[in-house]
């Protein structure tokens, strides 16, 4: 075994343990704040796995976008909506949990079975390019130009949509008792006579 292969194997094992344990923590941790920080750990571990897969640009994008933006956004959302409150018990709660566990475990078994019984068309030798960034850029600006531009439009739409959804539209004034409906006055729609 060459040294590079050994390093690759060991780092994959460490990253796997980290990612799976942190993902279980995200799902099972009673505190939502810890869950959010563990989610950041999952993102970092997956970025490490991307590096093992020769995808340096995507790893950098993962760290910047997921850890830097999405995780911070989730933390802000938790700060805004976190109210410690005991959830009401639901009917058949334990049964639901068991069914969910059964479905997830069987799905995992199915995926594992499919994976181990498939012969993949592996390329004979993994020809690692010096850096995939040039190839990636050529893809983006040749055959994937339209999706690339659409992605920017999508981001703009999401930005505006998130602002409109999240802004507090009417702050009712506290001074006087106002029994009017706090709502934007709607224009009357003319009813068309049949």
């Amino acid at each position: 075994m060459k040294l590079s292969q050994g390093v690759e194997l060991v780092s994959l094992l460490v990253l796997t343990a980290m990612v799976v344990a942190a993902a279980m923590g995200v799902v099972l941790s009673p505190s939502i704040v810890y869950a959010a920080f563990l989610l950041g750990l999952v993102f970092l571990g997956i970025a490490g796995m991307y590096l093992l897969l020769n995808a340096d640009f995507v790893a950098a994008a993962q760290v910047l976008i997921y850890v830097g933006a999405v995780n911070v956004l989730i933390l802000f959302a938790i700060m805004l909506v976190n109210r410690r409150k005991v959830y009401r018990e639901v009917k058949l709660g334990a049964v639901r949990q068991l069914v969910a566990i059964a479905v997830c475990v069987s799905l995992f078994a199915l995926l594992l079975y499919t994976n181990l019984n498939t012969v993949w068309l592996l390329t004979p030798e993994v020809t690692a390019l010096p850096s995939g960034i040039v190839t990636l850029g050529q893809h983006f600006f040749n055959e994937y130009l339209l999706p690339f531009e659409l992605a920017s439009v999508l981001l703009l739409v999401a930005l505006i949509g998130a602002i409109i959804l999240a802004r507090r539209e009417f702050v009712p004034d506290r001074g006087e008792e106002n029994l009017e409906l706090v709502e934007r006055p709607k224009e009357l729609v003319a009813v068309k006579e049949e």
């Binding site: 279980m24 796995m49 640009f57 995507v58 802000f76 805004l80 959830y87 893809h139 999508l154 959804l165």
Partner: protein
């Protein structure tokens, strides 16, 4: 022993199943969004694994994973805004209380 494609696929499958479990059983709406992010990351891991082992000359899987990351960021922003807006109107983030569409 060389790191193979199967290892990454198994990790992706495990992460996806954990994400589905969290999506189905969580009561907190923010945690549901976090589970969706886990599932999207599992998908990305599969894309990159296939791109590295089956298509290492033209790495098209990386292109798709960049698009997935973009859409995931947009989804997180809009999803959290919706959670915030529901929290204002219902005063809770409990998924079981969101029964506005029940008839």
């Amino acid at each position: 022993m060389q790191v193979s494609l199967d290892a990454f696929l198994v990790i992706g499958a495990a992460l996806f199943c954990i994400g589905i479990y969290g999506l189905v059983t969580s009561r907190n709406a923010v945690r549901v969004l976090m589970s969706i992010e886990l599932m999207l990351n599992a998908v990305n891991l599969n894309f990159l694994a296939f791109s590295n082992y089956l298509d290492s000359a033209t790495i098209k899987g990386q292109v798709f994973s960049v698009f997935v990351i973009t859409v995931a960021a947009a989804e997180a922003a809009v999803g959290l805004a919706i959670v915030l807006s529901i929290y204002r109107s219902r005063d809770t983030v409990d998924m079981e209380e969101f029964n506005l569409l029940r008839w």
